[in-house]
């Protein structure tokens, strides 16, 4: 949760907790939707374990792509909006 939310970020903690809390349900819905949409069948065990695997993959992905987590993503958006539409202004 701390990895996903971002070290040293207060708002990131809120984002990270919400993300981890909502992720399994959303992922289950997404997988079952994809299974019906693309017509493949998954076993119950696969359905149960796939969110866990994706959870691990998410942590690895965050460490690789955005080590400072969701808090940093929020800050990036905020920094962009601070000077919008003058993106060339030094922040």
């Amino acid at each position: 949760m701390v990895i996903v939310c971002g070290l040293g970020s207060i708002i990131g903690s809120y984002f990270g907790a919400a993300f981890i809390l909502l992720m399994p349900g959303v992922m289950n819905s997404f997988i079952s939707w994809a299974a019906t949409r693309f017509g493949f069948s998954l076993g119950i065990e696969t359905l149960a374990h796939l969110p866990q695997a994706l959870y691990g993959a998410l942590i690895i992905g965050f460490l690789l792509i955005e080590p400072l987590g969701l808090g940093k993503i929020y800050n990036n958006v905020r920094d962009y909006l601070l000077v919008w539409p003058f993106g060339y202004v030094k922040k």
């Binding site: 701390v2 070290l7 040293g8 970020s9 990131g12 903690s13 809390l21 601070l82 919008w84």
Partner: protein, 277 residues
């Protein structure tokens, strides 16, 4: 746009140094606070108990970890040990029939170093595990106990049974948040030191109102040990000529340096706790 800075002029220091100088931040916090307070009235109880409350509880946990891992910048396995000790004490108090609200306070009564402080004794620096003397007293206490055979442990309740460690965790997180607020807000720049948690007092300067300062230090040490914030002591860093300069006097710096070099040899700690922020 949302976070527009154009047209906002900070003409005095107070507005420039405000916690949320941009109006959009203040509005967002206010709206979220109102939504949170009004949640029981517009939200289904199922969503309330299965989404909103876990979200807030998990956020408190993440913030507590963030205080140690993020801002404080240290990764200390003893932190988990201290939380575990407190949590198990609270669990077994609950199982004895003590109300939950009171039982969560048992996790700090349970500490030996707490009683040590009450007896005005310095905690012993000897520990059966090599290197354990460099840890905070609470960590050392936990490690001492874990190093003993099961039947000789002073507090077998720490390790027996399973239960609901969230109680202790929540208490510790809350106390840590309070402590860090106390220390961070008035003190500004911070420096990690472990001396207070280890029971070592800074030597008062001659003729500098030492009694008061020692009492203050005692109070801080009590707070730290009672609430379990055993490793992070946030000291003021001041300029020359400050009356509290002795905190970073030559002897103190030497102590910090010596302990820093020692702590590298401690295998249970990946601590960066001696580093100056």
């Amino acid at each position: 746009m949302l976070f527009r800075q154009a047209g906002i002029f900070h003409t005095d220091y107070a507005s420039d140094r405000a916690l949320f100088p941009i109006a959009a931040d203040r509005y967002m916090i206010g709206i979220l606070l109102l939504l949170g307070l009004a949640a029981p009235f517009y939200m289904n109880s199922l969503y309330l108990s299965s989404y909103l409350l876990p979200w807030l509880v998990w956020t408190a946990g993440a913030l507590g970890l963030n205080l140690i891992l993020g801002w404080a910048g240290q990764f200390h396995l003893g932190y988990a040990a201290v939380m575990g000790i407190g949590a198990y004490a609270a669990v077994h108090a609950t199982r004895f029939g003590i109300p939950w609200e009171i039982a969560i306070h048992c996790c700090r009564i349970d500490r030996r170093d707490h009683w040590n402080w009450l007896c005005l004794r310095r905690p012993s620096r000897q520990g059966p595990l090599p290197g354990a003397q460099h840890a905070g007293p609470a960590v050392r206490h936990g490690l001492d106990d874990l190093a003993r055979p099961c039947d000789q442990r002073r507090h077998p309740s720490h390790i027996a049974g399973t239960g609901y460690p969230v109680a202790g965790l929540a208490h510790h997180v809350g106390c840590r948040a309070i402590l860090c607020c106390i220390r961070l807000v008035p003190h500004g720049d911070v420096l990690h030191a472990q001396s207070a948690a280890n029971g070592a007092r800074p030597r008062p300067r001659r003729g500098s109102g030492k009694g008061l300062r020692c009492r203050r230090h005692r109070r801080e040490q009590f707070l730290l040990q009672a609430f379990g914030l055993c490793d992070v002591v946030l000291y003021r860093r001041r300029d020359r000529g400050d009356p509290d300069r002795h905190l970073l006097s030559r002897g103190h710096a030497r102590t910090v340096f010596r302990r820093r070099s020692r702590s590298r040899r401690w295998p249970w700690s990946l601590s960066a706790g001696w580093e100056v922020l």
